[in-house]
Amino acid sequence: MPPFFIPGKDGDPMSWMKRQRMLGYVFIAPNVIGMTVFLLVPALFSFYLMFTDWVFSSGRGPHFIGLDNFRRMVKEELFWISLKNTLLVMLPVPVAVIIGFLIAVMLNNRVYLTKTLRAFFFAPYFTSGIAIAFVWMVLFQPSEGPINAFLRSAGITDPPRWFSSPDTAMIGMLIMLTVGGIGYNMIIYLAALQDISTELMEAARIDGAKTRHLISKVILPLVSPTTFFLLITGFVGAVKGFGMIYAITQGGPANSTSVFSIFAYKQAFHFYEMGYASAISWTMFLLILLISLLQWWGQKRWVHY
């Protein structure tokens, strides 16, 4: 069998091109097959299921029930709590982007221990989310955790109960998600900052630009595609977020940290209501789509390529 990468014996370039194409298909086949079997087909199947009452363990097939799952969903208090919390977990995204940017600018200049600090800020990104979640659980432990120990030593006699209270659990989550997002943003910004020409910066300085002007008038516009990328992927990731929240509270206490993915997960894998869970998942998808479209539409005003 002739190798794919040399022309055929007859020297026909088209034959060579064909083989090249075939080789391309062979290379992408594992991914395409995997994506089709594990993503595309289940996604399409769940699209069908959301209009049915299929309960996994019932032994009955699905029955078409139209939009009943959606009617049921909007009547449930947990849906509205999950929607509110899903929107809340998007808040850490811009905050982490801003902090990540500022740290990147700082580390991009010559400061002491640049490499150590870079690794320090990036550590949460390459650490398992569940391990991070457990560290935060210990940090926020109400009676013996270091954060409350510090607050008590600072004179606060009744510090928040963090993940243990329905009032403060979500605040704890937002802090955790913000800190967790900084490292990745910082690294991406650092890469973007390397691309800014030093001549441009020097020219701006010669023209009298101060540091704040450099940041706002030169750096920020030049890294705006990176900012857009970080925001769009950050928001998508936030809406889909599951592991860390589930590991700490499973959506509790009293459903106070329930987000869409946990709401869908419980319906699917606690109660086996696959039809209903599909409806929730597709609502989550629509939310992500809407947010992404809004950003796409908005980016024309502030992203400079």
Partner: protein, 460 residues
Amino acid sequence: MKTKKSFHVAAIALCTAGTLLLAGCGSNGNSGNSGTNDGGTTAAGSPSSAASPSQADSKKETVKLTMWGGVPAENGPQEAVDNWNKLHPDIQIEYVRFVNDDAGNLKLDTALISGQQVDLYMNYAYSTLEKRVQAGNALDLSSFSEYDIDDKMGSAASAWKMDGKYYGVPTKKGGTYVWLNKDMLDAQGLEVPTDWTLDDMRDYANKLKSDKVWGLAEGDYFFAQSINSSIMKQSLEMTNSDGTSAFDNPFTVKTFEVYLDMMFTDKSMMPHTEQITSKPALDQMFVKGETAMLFSTEQIFRTTNNLTDFPRDFKVALAPAPKVTADQTDYIYNGGLGDVLSINPKSKYKDEAWEFVKWYADEGMLPLAKGGRLPSSKDLDADEAVKVMFEGVEDTYDLDSVKRVLLGADLPYALSQLDAKTSSDFQVVYDKVFSQKLTPEEGSKELARIHNDNLKAAAK
């Protein structure tokens, strides 16, 4: 029918794949709980290893059956299965452990529905067995008439009947009890209680607590015990005679009040919401002397009998669950028969599986006594089980109280048949009451409201 089955298999495969879609939760979220401990996939995923019936008939080939259970293999099931395999070289059983939680039960249900080889499996809750019966995954045992389950197991077995039929054989008896650190009780001059109330338990916890020792610890499940125990006599579905929820009653309010006082007034018990996020291992807290009392089931024998991994220098005593009030006459203790062994109707070897069920119930399960499981069959000598249970560790128990509560006391036992969704929804109410967002009265009414809503939804 075949098309329907094919649909199910395809649908399950797709849903399994769908879990990967769901926010990438498969690897990070829940699987961590079951992890490799339950290790059932390999064994259950090899249906081809079983010989076909025709081959078995002609060549007398060895029949291989798979039994799924929630008890770790090393806590008795493996020894039981090995004993059977020695006695029956022609019928070999393989034990596959699933963790008895949501993820583990989902794994078993997936295996049952998708036609993997599960010949026998254990049920630990009425609601899960009910689902499996409705899905056609539990064999109606009426046809095996030579074995009278009611006669062997006693009248308590009937709690597991559905539409008057058995779909599994209950094999053990047990309940919920309060485990006590006898040395701590002695130090405070406290007697081992034989008949007590929630207020007594609060008093004990208050006297037993110290800087580094909680008075009492218990899992989420046990808040419901006192509440359910006050209702079960009138209905195992926890309803009034008119079909409405029975949860809004003075006993529910009293239960909430006592626990709240223990958490926030006496500070003799870890606040519930702190416990659910700190996730302490309660059995280990008890054997380490970090809590003086533990409200739990006989499952703690796995820990208290294991002096190698969990060394302790105190004696363990046992008290029955406390009533809500001293004059309560309709209190039913939580417990009765459990470990219900069912046969998969799709098994190729139902008769062989049935032979195993009978053997397991009447003699085979004895090795599980080490883990605290008392056989329910009248054919199995209770003294023999107790001997196995305490072998080598007799000195570390206050045997009088343990035997009195486990064997001697003739207490009324029953198990609630509350549906899984209502039980899950109640967790939110417990969270709110025990984080003081709802008063005990409001909590009681909220339980009833949720239950009534779910009853109405189920009736539709």
